[in-house]
């Protein structure tokens, strides 16, 4: 049996039942507890954490290590857990940010938003700063 979501963003989506991710304590400021991860393209830099309860609720997530080479999570999560950070969009690419202070840790279908005690974990870290710097270096 699979679940369908009539996503306001992506239209009808089939969700395999074993792909549900439960956040027992929810996410601060949001009303859902059951989500799934949606990748729109293979190897996309972003995935969407989509609510299975609210068709209009979805958050873009990024793998922090793809954008922040020095990323660290303290205390360290369990071995094998997936780590994502939420993404805040903007009209200007320089103003996209990721929340390194409160990453999402997902393992075995259970998710948790944790507080990162690493000293340089910014609440709004410029998402594309490293990529832009690398591109500028290549152009020079």
């Amino acid at each position: 049996v699979s679940t369908t979501i009539d996503s306001t963003r992506f239209g009808r989506i089939e969700v395999a039942p074993d792909s549900a991710i439960v956040f027992p304590h929810g996410l601060a400021g949001l009303d859902s507890r059951t989500f799934t991860l949606i990748a729109r393209a293979q190897d996309d830099a972003f995935v969407w954490l989509h609510s299975l309860e609210d068709p209009a609720l979805a958050l873009p997530l990024a793998d922090p290590r793809r954008f922040f080479s020095g990323f660290a999570l303290e205390p360290a999560p369990a071995e094998g857990a997936a780590i994502y950070v939420t993404v805040r969009a903007s009209e200007r690419i320089e103003e996209f940010t990721a929340n390194l202070r409160a990453p999402l840790v997902i393992a075995d279908g259970i998710g948790q938003q944790v507080i990162n005690e690493a000293p340089d974990a910014e609440l709004r870290a410029p998402l594309f700063a490293e990529l832009a710097a690398a591109a500028a270096e290549q152009a020079a």
């Binding site: 949001l30 609720l57 958050l59 873009p60 793809r66 969009a89 938003q113 609440l123």
Partner: protein, 78 residues
Amino acid sequence: MLIITRRPGERIVLGDDIVVTVMEISGQTARIGIAAPRELPIYREEIWEAVKAENQAAAAVDADALPPVPPPANGTSK
């Protein structure tokens, strides 16, 4: 709101598995120790508010708002 007076070293027990200890009071600062199940989220209030704002901002992102990102260079971990 329940208001309780405690001295340093004294504790408050919440339910079966949460114990709050007043560790130290120094001037305007109180150090609080909290023993609770590991999965229970505990936030300083101002951080909770900030995380809430970031979560809500992320939930407001449109499906087509994310720019394409070049694939990771060879040799970088996935």
